[in-house]
């Protein structure tokens, strides 16, 4: 078998040393090594870019690079090529440092045996090849594992659906009478079906997080809405265990910049856990307040359960971690919940931690960034060329045909309309701006869209079409008008510091919104 020749790049400025190295290879079979020599690192860097290098022999004192910097530069230019550094007799400390920077080995000049060098190089190349292969295999295995998990989770859903269907068919007496004892047992099956379903959901969620496919749609969101939703949803589960589930929300709590679905998901996991780990007659309390750092809102879920020992408070967020607490007899699922929570919270720019002492309950705290206009504008205007892509405000005016509507009706209808409008937007390009606090019959919804006049028109059409389609919306007594304002020039001249620039842009947009509201109010009388 003919071996492929090994391309050795020698970077060495000393002519005598270079000659010595050449001689070392002269006794090797022809074609087994190709030795390419450079005196300067710069020339070697150019050669590395072409590829095909099997190993580098690098002197650490060159005309254009010295010491450890030589190794760093060479590694950067040839990151996947094994490297052996050449040092002087009293430079072993430097050699050790070079190894830390990624050199595979070092040789001391003057102590290299003639025949030993080619052998050492062959071994180094082989070792590197095996390591690279092993890394690749590991990457493939991980990918395969994720695909496998995703596939299995989806396949499990159909049979689970069939089980759910028939249990509920019997339970709802669609197939004849069922006695109370049988009902009780069917309820147990149903409970376990739901548990299985949430395990499948968790598995998929973790697989998605691993693959970087977890979707988070940041927007202005209400933490208190999420708390209300979660308390309502889990009220039944708490009552069944005689646990008091309560909530308190600080007045004038600002909106957060987060995905409302994800806030609900985080709270469901935390409150559900709290209920599981709290003995009957205990309490679970959910609280929302402004953090000490006013740029964040803190959500807290506290319970009167068995608590968590201090050494566990970090580990508890790890994948597949489960408390081996004998007092918690309930089955706890896959132990993925808190891990998912941590992923979700950190991906939304917040933090999660737990404070607790055994026997004294636990408090899980989550922070989420407060919504501010700058938050939305940052991705829109930072490093963003407004000459190329204009920005517009789309204004939706909702008036009442029937004159004054009751606050409740108006609130409900405008909520539905906002919901529909949201569905017409591109989550990466358009942003529904937060409500301006005006009272009166008139309501304006503002959308910041990264588009010009024709794009704004397209958005308007899309929204009107959806509203006209009447999907979930009854607006017989409402009038809806849509217009757009071009924000030409608002984002330009970004020579000032980014922070100031953003603030100025945000302030200008707020001003335009304000003027718009005032002028429409004046018109509508």
């Amino acid at each position: 078998m003919k071996e492929k020749s090994i391309q050795v790049v020698l970077v060495e400025d000393n002519a005598a040393d270079t000659r010595l190295f050449r001689e070392m290879f002269s006794k090797e079979p022809p074609g087994s090594f190709i030795l390419i020599h450079f005196s300067r690192l710069h020339d070697a860097e150019i050669h590395f870019a072409k590829g095909g290098v099997d190993i580098v022999l690098l002197d650490m004192g060159l005309p254009d690079a010295h010491g450890i910097d030589t190794v760093r530069r060479a590694r950067a230019a040839a990151p996947n090529v094994p490297m052996i550094v050449l040092t002087g007799l009293d430079d072993e400390e430097l050699a050790a440092e070079a190894m830390k920077e990624g050199a595979q080995d070092y040789l001391i000049k003057g102590q290299i045996e003639n025949r030993a060098l080619p052998r050492a190089l062959r071994h180094a190349v082989e070792r590197h090849r095996m390591q690279t292969e092993a890394d690749l295999v590991q990457i493939h295995q991980l990918q395969y594992k994720d695909e496998f998990l995703s596939h299995v989770s989806h396949e499990l859903r159909s049979p689970l659906f069939a089980i759910y269907q028939f249990v509920t068919i019997i339970l709802d007496k669609l197939a004849g009478e069922v006695n109370p004892e049988q009902c009780r047992y069917l309820e147990i099956i149903l409970k376990n079906v739901k548990q299985l379903q949430s395990m499948i959901d968790d598995l998929l969620e973790v697989t998605r997080a691993q693959a970087g496919k977890m979707t988070i749609e940041l927007q202005s969101a209400s933490a208190s809405d999420a708390i209300d939703y979660v308390v309502n949803t889990l009220h039944g589960a708490a009552t069944a265990k005689q646990i008091a589930l309560t909530s308190s929300i600080e007045s004038r709590l600002p909106s957060v910049w987060a995905d409302p679905k994800r806030i609900r998901q985080i709270l469901i996991i935390l409150v559900d856990n709290a209920i599981k780990f709290t003995p009957p007659d205990g309490m679970v309390h959910v609280r929302a307040r402004l953090s000490e750092d006013p740029k964040f809102v803190t959500l807290e879920v506290s319970d009167s359960g068995s608590g968590i020992s201090p050494e566990m408070t970090e580990k508890i967020f790890d994948r597949l971690f489960q408390l081996s607490d004998p007092s918690a007899s309930a089955r706890k699922g896959l132990g993925l919940g808190l891990h998912i929570c941590k992923e979700l919270v950190t991906r939304q720019g917040g933090q999660i931690w737990v404070t607790s002492a055994p026997g004294q309950g636990a408090v899980f705290s989550v922070t989420l960034p407060v919504f501010s206009l700058a938050h939305i504008i940052a991705p829109a205007f930072c490093g963003y060329d407004c000459e190329q892509e204009p920005v517009s405000l789309v204004v939706i005016e909702i008036g009442s045909r029937a004159g004054w509507l009751s606050d409740e009706v108006r609130e409900e209808q405008s909520h539905r309309i906002r919901d529909s409008v949201q569905k017409c937007l591109f989550s990466d390009k358009d942003v529904l701006l937060p409500k301006m606090n005006f009272t009166g019959a008139l309501e304006l919804i503002f959308i910041l869209a990264m588009t010009g006049k024709s794009g704004a028109d397209a958005i308007s059409k899309r929204i009107l079409k959806r509203l006209d389609g009447g999907e979930h919306i009854q607006y017989a007594d409402l009038t809806v008008a849509i217009s757009s304002i071009s924000l030409e020039g608002v984002g330009r001249n970004a020579t000032e510091p980014a922070d100031h620039h953003l603030e100025r842009v945000a302030a200008r947009i707020r001003e335009i919104m304000y003027e718009e509201v005032l002028s429409r109010m004046a018109k509508s009388g």
């Binding site: 995703s150 989806h154 396949e155 859903r157 159909s158 049979p159 689970l160 659906f161 069939a162 759910y164 269907q165 028939f166 509920t168 068919i169 709802d172 669609l174 197939a175 079906v193 379903q197 998929l204 998605r208 496919k213 979707t215 009447g470 979930h472």
Partner: protein, 129 residues
């Protein structure tokens, strides 16, 4: 007025039977198809008021079915609810833009399914009578 007609398209006979029992109990008449081509044929034959459609089907898939239905003038107006085990993130938007009224991932809660069916059947339909 007679019962509303619902065509159930799913290749899993257990799921189909389960849906049939649940829908019948809620006073809907049910019709069935277990693959892509026959679902279009059954839709022509019975002109259902609504279609519950799985995505993974033999000889084609749910998307193909929706495409064929939307092309047929007499069938294009029938509201479609997709009920599938497939990934929500990857399929919801695609199903909705293919003309489905909703994407529900299996296992679907009975109350949710019935509420959406009721919603779709209560609205006025722009299509032919």
């Amino acid at each position: 007025m007679g019962n509303k007609k619902i065509l159930i398209v799913d290749d899993d006979p257990d799921v189909t039977l389960g849906l049939h029992l649940r829908l019948r109990a809620n006073h809907y008449d049910t019709y069935f198809a277990a693959d892509a081509p026959s679902s279009v044929a059954e839709a022509r034959k019975y002109s259902p008021d609504l279609i519950v459609l799985d995505l993974g089907l033999p000889s084609g898939d749910g998307y193909l079915v929706m495409e064929s239905l939307k092309k047929a003038p007499s069938l294009a107006h029938i509201p479609i609810i997709v009920v599938s085990a497939r990934d929500l993130a990857a399929n919801e938007e695609r199903a909705l833009s293919a003309g489905a009224k909703a994407f529900l991932q299996k296992p679907v809660d009975n109350a949710v399914l019935l509420a959406i069916i009721r919603r779709e059947l209560s609205g006025p339909h722009p299509g032919p009578k």
